[in-house]
């Protein structure tokens, strides 16, 4: 029940942003959705803290718990986005991802992992934290990229309607794509290095067929490809936005496929 509260608050914040989009933004700051988002993150922190207190472990292992932590990192990233005033409205693109992830966590059940707790060391926490930050960075890039394409379309179509007025400027969205991609890439790279070291040290090597290894490597390759698509040239920004959206979609779809085909109870997400 306690994990439902942040979900409802995230959904309410998304609703408030959508209301602002539909009713037409004003020059006043969008305080209500910002407050709602902050409340959601605080409630999420309390819920995860309660998990830690109740089960004596961090909610990093097991699908429900790990997804909730991933959503929480998304909430933290949202707070950073909201602090960048001009880019705050990127939240309308990022919040659906956070809502879906937390919703999935609640549906799957946020329970302690049946796996041994020897995975709870600082290195593991750092690895998972960095990986989550990597995926959320990619999510930001994807959300900003999607909004970039919408704004680009509005400007090209000379239709200066609700989306045009609501969305941040193209250059701001492009900057968010860049920041999201670099944050995602560097965090995920570090997370993979940590995982590789841990595997070599304690398991004698990396299991190439492990679905989570496959997914992590694929995510890293996709992120790297998206970054390469943004090398200086004509259409760089536009191409980068498309690549971010497409790349993130590939990562999410791959996860779902792996989850539905080979993932089991112990699967980390």
């Amino acid at each position: 029940m306690i994990h439902l509260i942040p979900l409802l608050l995230y959904a309410a914040a998304l609703g408030l942003w959508v209301r602002e989009l539909v009713q037409g933004p004003t020059d006043r700051s969008s305080l209500a959705p910002v407050i709602m988002t902050v409340a959601a993150v605080v409630a999420h922190l309390v819920a995860l803290g309660d998990f830690r207190m109740r089960y004596g472990e961090l909610p990093l292992v097991g699908p429900g718990a790990a997804l909730s932590s991933l959503a929480f990192v998304g909430g933290l990233v949202l707070l950073v986005t909201l602090a960048l005033r001009e880019a705050a409205r990127v939240a309308i693109g990022l919040l659906p991802f956070v809502v879906v992830v937390q919703g999935a966590a609640v549906i799957l059940g946020i329970q302690p992992s049946p796996e041994a707790l020897d995975l709870q060391g600082a290195g593991f926490v750092l690895h998972v934290g960095l990986a989550f930050l990597g995926y959320q960075g990619f999510a930001v890039a994807s959300a900003a990229g999607f909004l970039y394409l919408v704004q680009h379309h509005e400007l090209k179509a000379k239709r200066l309607g609700r989306f045009f007025r609501f969305l941040p400027p193209l250059t701001t969205l492009n900057r968010m794509v860049r920041i999201g991609l670099w944050t995602g890439f560097s965090s995920l790279s570090l997370a993979l290095v940590l995982a590789w070291r841990w595997s070599v040290e304690y398991r004698g090597g990396v299991e190439a067929g492990d679905p989570k290894v496959v997914w992590a490597l694929l995510s890293w390759i996709v992120l790297a490809s998206v970054l390469i698509s943004r090398v200086p040239s004509a259409r760089r920004d536009y191409r980068g936005a498309i690549a971010s959206v497409a790349g993130f979609t590939v990562v999410v779809v791959t996860y779902l496929v792996l989850r539905l085909t080979v993932g089991g109870e112990g699967f980390f997400l």
């Binding site: 037409g24 004003t26 006043r28 001009e86 704004q151 400007l155 090209k156 000379k158 200066l160 045009f164 007025r165 969305l167 941040p168 400027p169 193209l170 250059t171 701001t172 200086p232 040239s233 004509a234 259409r235 760089r236 920004d237 536009y238």
Partner: protein
């Protein structure tokens, strides 16, 4: 019956006078000060504010007695305007009482502006009001009535803008251009603007871009001398026309407004400027007719090309949105105007209540003295009780009518009742004693919609 407030407004606006008349009636702050001082001296005016903008010159006055006011203002404005093709009377409009309040609220909300909902007027009204208050005369020209009126007007203007879509989006070619630039680049600081020719609209756009932070402005023209001249006007640099592709390659924003018979920025020139395609976004605004920029360039990646029809269509859409907000804005204004009337009426109720009480107290004392003369045998305690009884009786008798009168005045329904109370309690003399300060002008001001023969009313001007 709602008594009229002795508020008056006389002036010209874009509804009643063409620009050549309005510009003759534009007042500098010093001139405004002199006019207001003269009106106080010769027209029995206590409070006055003069609002002078490019779209209007309006004098707000309190109290305004038509017989004294109109000749004085006509003379003052006539002196300022000089000789006009038609008589000044043909351009003037006037408002009285509640009409003045509604008009000022509409002006401050941008409803009476040339471009509906424009926000600049609010600052201009504030300046006019503050300027009147700063004039060193005693009592100040922005006295209690003008203070309340203008402060409410500024507040109403803010409410109308925040609660309705009256100010939504940019509504001129120049401001739409800036909005486009902002939505592409975010900040315009450091952005480079290339100008090809420029008419009046072009210069307005450049001004607006510069106000928003655009710093580097380069002007190119087939005739280099004209480029130099234009560059001087827009505080930019002239560029030799044969280096146009170079200027194009460096620009973030291109503004084109030449009188050339055909396109200047062609596909060929564009390819020369951007051999590998456009790197960052490029906003191109073509307000020339015939067009200066080949339309096909608009489909190039990273290029956002807007011609004059695109910009006008956007402006028209915005104006339609703003017009849709008029009924709601009008409702807000009417409600606030009623509140002002109630406040003004409350100024009248206080002396009436005071007089009622004074009269009651006088009666109480007279009758008590008469009674006590026949009750000399009573002890002091008993006499005090009798006096206390008389005081309580009077308070109770007056409490209900006083409370109801205040309540009705607060809700804007009381003026008729005030007249009745004056009549019933025999207080008519009170109004005459207070004279012009608190009462309506005598004789009553004319109906603002009645043809006057000396000027058009606002309604007629529309």
């Amino acid at each position: 019956m709602q008594p009229r407030m002795p508020l008056a407004l006389v002036g010209v606006s874009h509804h009643t006078a063409p620009v050549d008349v309005r510009e003759r009636l534009a007042f500098t702050p010093d001139e405004a000060e002199r006019v207001l001082a003269t009106l106080r001296e010769h027209a029995g005016v206590r409070e006055a504010v003069l609002l002078s903008t490019c779209n209007r010159t309006e004098v707000y006055l309190f109290p305004g007695v038509r017989e004294r006011l109109i000749p004085a203002i006509t003379e003052l404005l006539g002196r300022k305007a000089g000789k006009l093709e038609r008589g000044l009377d043909d351009y003037l409009f006037e408002q009285w009482g509640d009409g003045v309040v509604r008009h000022l609220f509409q002006v401050c909300s941008g409803l009476d502006s040339l471009v509906i909902g424009e926000a600049e007027i609010q600052g201009q009204v504030r300046e006019a009001y503050e300027r009147a208050g700063a004039i060193g005369v005693d009592p100040p020209l922005a006295g209690p009535v003008m203070n309340r009126l203008f402060q409410m007007a500024l507040s109403v203007g803010g409410q109308v803008r925040s609660r309705t879509s009256i100010g939504e989006g940019a509504a001129s070619v120049a401001s739409v251009s800036v909005e486009l630039a902002r939505k592409i680049f975010g900040t315009l600081r450091g952005k480079r603007v290339l100008i090809l020719g420029a008419g009046q609209t072009g210069e307005l756009i450049v001004d607006a871009l510069r106000r928003d932070g655009a710093e580097s402005i380069v002007v190119a023209n087939r005739t280099h001398d004209r480029a130099v001249e234009l560059a001087r006007r827009v505080r930019g640099e002239a560029l030799a026309f044969d280096r146009l592709s170079e200027g194009l390659a460096r620009a973030d924003i291109v503004l084109s407004a030449t009188a050339a018979p055909g396109p200047i920025v062609t596909g060929e020139l564009f390819a020369e400027a951007f051999p590998g395609g456009v790197g960052g976004p490029l906003l191109m605004i073509d307000i020339a007719i015939p067009r200066d920029i080949e339309p096909a360039l608009g489909s190039a990646s990273g290029v956002f090309l807007y011609n004059v029809d695109d910009l006008r269509r956007i402006v028209d859409d915005r104006v339609r949105v703003r017009e849709g907000a008029l009924p709601e804005a009008d409702r807000l204004i009417r409600a606030q105007a009623r509140e002002f009337s109630s406040w003004y009426a409350s100024l009248e109720v206080v002396p009436v209540i005071r007089k009622m009480r004074e009269q009651g107290e006088m009666l109480r004392k007279t009758e008590l003295d008469r009674l006590l003369r026949g009750l000399q045998h009573l002890a002091d305690d008993d006499l005090e009780k009798v006096e206390e009884f008389s005081r309580r009786l009077m308070n109770k008798l007056l409490h209900e009518p006083t409370a109801r009168l205040r309540n009705e005045m607060d809700h804007g329904e009381g003026p008729g009742m005030l007249e009745a109370v004056r009549f019933l309690y025999g207080l008519e003399t009170e109004r005459r004693e207070r004279g012009v300060r608190m009462t309506r002008p005598s004789p009553d001001p004319v109906d603002r919609n009645k043809p006057l023969g000396w000027g058009r009313t606002k309604e007629e001007g529309r």
